[in-house]
């Protein structure tokens, strides 16, 4: 089979041991000997690590010394190292697309039990590559400019960090937040572990910086509706919900809230996790950014009956002179153009009422940890005073770990933060109330800088630790000491006894789980989720903030449970990845686009309706179909349908696919 210039293919095959990852299962010398017998194979070599510099050097030298014009590396998945070896091929002096990768690690050595069968399978895959590569041609990749603007979805600590990093680097950032204020979960916390520094003291300045940054356009109370385009050139539609308060006019003075016809707050405050109350017009919390009031149409009398005296509006107009309240505000659709997207949509906490044994929702003094965060918060509904719902101070408090986590009935994973925040809450409760505090744990997990030391500190503070999975929280009491209290029943697995611990307050350390709409969101952005529902990173170790969709990055707990330091680090990493993408200014598109041979096209129209990107149109004068290269994303749907074989897909030509199939089936 002659190459384009009539030169015969001269193939080099390089089989990687990958340490023992491949070599430990596949008989590499045998595979190499086999490769030497294949047609047009000029040289076949093995090497411990092909991706290392000396490994790549082998390729470059062979291209130069042996005139190798087709390169096959049999190693790992092309998703990992295709780029590496294409580059080596290029540096050796050949077109990078005269390269093909045979995946004998993920698809062979790691999944095959029997070494002999693994070796046979590896041979087949290499033979297929040899057959396939005869049909490779030199290709040019196309460069398209990258829009340097960035969209960040989610205004928690991850989104805030990424936004500030990028904005400080001079990039225009759109930060979209669903709630009426940024801040996310972190804004609800009082203290952070293990240093016990005040969460709002470290977060608020960052929130303000976001608001004031000339490069950041903050879009709160908004959701992403549609995402179109591809890396470098996304078009995103954002729906901005009406807050019935004109953002630019509101100064966050609370006069409207004070003048609401409801004299006292009546409805559970979302920000306070229902521990505190709010009015229909409210500012979620004093440090909110933007500090703008919002009206909840579900509870506002004007929206329910249309017969409210609208004192809030009147006050804003007359007392403040801003006239910021607008009951006719409609939702708004914004369209923004960006080159990269960072998803930082966070997590939700486990719904504790799913475990009725723990009595959440039935016993008023059973709280979730997030509710307690608001309760201990000095700017929370009780001003930081830890009291029961009836106003009493608890004398003893039980903290139940792993609620919903490490439990095959619910979420199998460890939520990573609960041990530490439970310790933090134990410390705060003990410090402020002097109550006896009991921690019920399965295992204590405190890996992290200063974490184990914090645990040690708590042990000395007189907090009780009882090792055992709590069976139930019950108001079934059997002695006067228990009367009127909640009893935690647990098998203390260190002494092998079932214990009943009476307490006044129970804190359920609820785990972290993917947001309920994570599935919807991942479809919107065309990325994957792990089986558990966390956004899937491109590689768990080497590409932890990238996704399989180029230009879409992930940061924070939407990728998996993590604490604030890890979240911030990951947000920084995502920002770094974005910078390396947009600062280059262009991206190279994989040249796997479809190409129409106008000499063969009969103009039958079959392909036109199939293209998902409307890249194919009909040329009336030539009576043929034509492809707009810039729009083609290289799926090959049209190629699979063309009845005239007039369309081919570069890198995935029929000859290539069929030669590969043939090669795979040659080894007996």
């Amino acid at each position: 089979m002659a190459g384009r210039n009539g030169d015969l293919p001269r193939i080099g095959v390089y089989v990687c041991h990958c340490g023992t990852n491949i070599g430990g299962k596949v008989n590499v010398p045998e595979v190499v000997a086999f490769a030497r017998t294949l047609p047009n194979v000029v040289v076949a070599r093995e090497y411990k690590y092909m991706c290392s510099d000396p490994g790549q050097l082998l390729i470059k030298e062979d291209i130069q010394k042996l005139n190798i014009n087709r390169v096959i590396v049999a190693s790992c998945s092309p998703h990992l190292h295709e780029h590496t070896f294409r580059k080596a091929t290029l540096e050796g002096g050949q077109n990078p697309y005269l390269f093909h990768m045979a995946n004998i690690r993920e698809h062979v050595s790691w999944v095959t039990d029997d070494p002999e069968k693994a070796t046979e399978k590896a041979k087949a895959i290499i033979e297929a590559a040899v057959y396939r590569i005869q049909f490779h041609e030199p290709l040019e990749s196309k460069q398209v400019p990258v829009n340097p603007d960035v969209l960040i979805v989610g205004g928690g600590i991850a989104g805030i960090t990424a936004a500030l990093t990028l904005a400080n680097a001079g990039k225009k950032v759109y930060l979209v937040e669903r709630e009426s204020s940024i801040g996310g979960h972190m804004a609800k916390f009082d203290k952070t572990f293990p240093t016990l520094d005040c969460a709002s003291c470290i977060l608020t300045p960052k929130m303000t910086a976001v608001k004031d940054h000339p490069n950041i356009q903050l879009i709160t109370y908004a959701e992403v509706l549609e995402v179109d385009g591809y890396v470098g050139n996304f078009t995103v539609k954002v729906k901005k919900k009406p807050r019935y308060v004109i953002e630019d006019r509101c100064i966050g003075c609370y006069v409207c809230v004070e003048n609401c016809v409801y004299k006292t707050p009546k409805y559970p405050s979302e920000f306070d996790e229902g521990i505190g109350l709010r009015k229909p017009i409210y500012i979620p919390f004093p440090q909110a950014v933007p500090l703008v009031a919002v009206i909840d149409p579900e509870t506002c009398i004007e929206f329910k009956s249309g017969r409210c005296p609208k004192k809030c509006q009147q006050a804003c107009r007359e007392v403040v002179g801003r006239d910021a309240i607008d009951f006719t505000q409609k939702e708004e659709i914004l369209e923004i153009q960006v080159g990269a997207i960072v998803l930082a949509t966070g997590f939700q906490t486990f719904d504790a009422s799913r475990i009725p044994e723990y009595g959440y929702g039935r016993y008023p003094n059973v709280y979730t940890s997030l509710e307690i965060e608001r309760l201990v918060n000095s700017s929370g509904p009780t001003g930081g005073e830890i009291v029961l719902r009836d106003g009493r101070k608890p004398r003893s408090v039980g903290i139940i770990h792993c609620v919903g986590s490490r439990d095959r009935n619910f979420n199998p994973w460890c939520s990573r933060v609960c041990c530490m925040y439970s310790l933090k809450l134990a410390h705060l409760v003990r410090e402020r109330t002097g109550a006896e505090v009991y921690n019920f744990y399965i295992d204590m997990r405190t890996p992290g800088k200063g974490y184990e030391e914090f645990y040690e500190k708590l042990l000395h503070e007189g907090v009780h630790f009882i090792r055992g999975k709590v069976a139930e929280v019950t108001d079934w009491t059997i002695n006067p000491e228990e009367a009127g209290r909640l009893v935690i029943r647990v098998e203390d697995s260190l002494i092998g006894v079932v214990r009943r611990i009476p307490v006044d307050m129970v804190i359920l350390s609820v785990g972290l789980e993917p947001r309920a709409d994570a599935e919807e969101l991942r479809r919107l952005f065309n990325i994957s989720c792990s089986a558990e529902g966390w956004f899937l990173e491109r590689h768990p170790k080497l590409a932890p903030v990238s996704t399989y969709t180029d230009g879409v990055f992930i940061a924070g707990a939407c990728q998996g449970p993590k604490d604030i330091p890890d979240t911030v680090a990951q947000a920084g990493a995502a920002a770094g990845e974005v910078l390396s993408l947009v600062d280059r200014g262009f991206i190279e598109l994989e040249p796997n686009i479809a190409v129409i041979d106008a000499r063969k096209c009969s103009g039958c129209h079959v392909c036109i309706a199939l293209c998902p990107y409307s890249a194919i149109s009909f040329n009336e004068t030539e009576n043929v179909a034509q492809i707009n290269e810039a729009l083609c994303k290289g799926c090959g749907v049209c190629v699979g349908a063309c009845p005239s074989r007039a369309i081919h897909q570069q890198l995935f030509k029929d000859e290539q696919i069929m030669a590969e199939i043939e090669g795979l089936l040659m080894v007996e």
Binding site: S602, H605, I608, V637, A641, P643, S644
Partner: protein, 342 residues
């Protein structure tokens, strides 16, 4: 200049291809200025012995129509191959197996049983099946063997050119003759018709919607109350194989308001006509719901094999599997086996 010797032969076919030669009318007379017919059993009294007596390669070109199913056909085409410089597969049957090729869809035993025993018009008492062995013994002459399968001509002998069609229209035959007799004949293997699909020359192509074709319902011609002669038949939901079929006929069937059934066969590069036809037809179904797709197929394409392989069953990849790697056909994509020295 001496006239070039030309032969015609008829294997398993309906005889329409012989008609196609006669349909050349005056053009045939004109052709006879340049050629001399030395073998044409249907029209002239030549016998097998006459061919056997010829020197190898004495005939310039032999046009063979029909598929190969009998041992006699196989023997004669091998003989003609030896005696001819050029072999032309003439018509759909020798090109791809044609309508007789559909017989590969049933087993030989079933065919014999139907013809000699169970068919509704067959007297069953004492009927026998043709048996090559017995006839030789009792009557002193050969009865050809009825092979298990129908084969296209190039699955039996090497073929140089193909004239497609069922039957080839006169214009195609005339054009093909001219090309063969030209100073520089086309490269071997050429199908002597258009290199574009039929749509390219079909007058109705311009009636296709600019946004492409989406079909919610396929219909068979008899199910359509009135076929609109001015709109693409495919767009009307008729399974017209124009997009996948080699052109050159001038879209005769479509002009007669019948959808193309594919007698000119596939375009260059298509390995399996049926697969290509199937793929484009399935692709334009306008539904993503498996149940709806199944319904559309149930109603519109009850017989995919008959629809997509009407003329090309013996040339299908699946049938080719039977002929094996050592048969006539060697896959074009097979790379060279020879070793290059380092």
């Amino acid at each position: 200049m001496a006239k070039k010797k030309v032969g015609f032969y008829w294997c398993a076919s309906c005889g329409g291809c012989e008609e196609a030669v006669v349909d050349l009318a005056e053009d045939l007379l004109a052709a006879l200025e340049q050629i001399e017919i030395v073998f044409w059993p249907v029209a002239m009294d030549f016998k097998r012995e006459d061919v056997e007596k010829m020197a190898d390669g004495e005939i310039f070109a032999t046009f063979i129509n029909g598929a190969v199913r009998l041992s006699e056909q196989e023997e004669i085409v091998h003989l003609l191959r030896r005696k001819s410089q050029v072999i032309v597969a003439f018509g759909a049957c020798s090109h791809m197996g044609g309508i007789p090729g559909l017989a590969n869809g049933v087993q030989r035993e079933q065919i014999l049983d139907y013809y000699y025993h169970s068919g509704p018009t067959v007297e069953t008492n004492g009927s026998v099946e043709p048996d090559p062995g017995i006839t030789k013994k009792e009557h002193g002459f050969d009865l050809p063997e009825f092979y298990r399968h129908v084969r296209a001509l190039d699955q039996v002998i090497d073929v140089d050119y193909y004239i497609p069609g069922c039957a080839p229209p006169p214009a195609i035959v005339k054009g093909a003759l001219a090309q063969l007799l030209a100073e520089e004949p086309p490269p071997p293997g050429t199908v002597l018709a258009s290199s574009h699909a039929l749509c390219h020359e079909c007058e109705l192509n311009e009636t296709k919607p600019a946004e492409g074709i989406r079909i919610k319902e396929f219909k068979r011609p008899h199910q359509v109350e009135k076929i609109d002669p001015n709109t693409c038949l495919l767009v009307q939901g008729l399974v017209c194989l124009g997009p996948v079929t080699r052109g050159g006929c001038g879209a005769l069937c479509v002009k007669g308001r019948m959808p193309c059934t594919g007698c000119f066969g596939p375009l260059d590069g298509v390995q399996d006509f049926g697969a290509a036809a199937l793929s484009f037809v399935a692709s334009i179904i306008d539904s993503n719901d498996p149940h709806e797709i199944e319904r559309i197929l149930d109603e519109g394409i009850p017989d995919p094999l008959g629809t997509f392989y009407l003329y090309s069953l013996p040339k299908s990849l699946l049938f080719q599997k039977l002929l094996g790697r050592n048969g006539k056909k060697v896959a074009e994509s097979r790379p060279r086996k020879e070793k290059v020295e380092a």
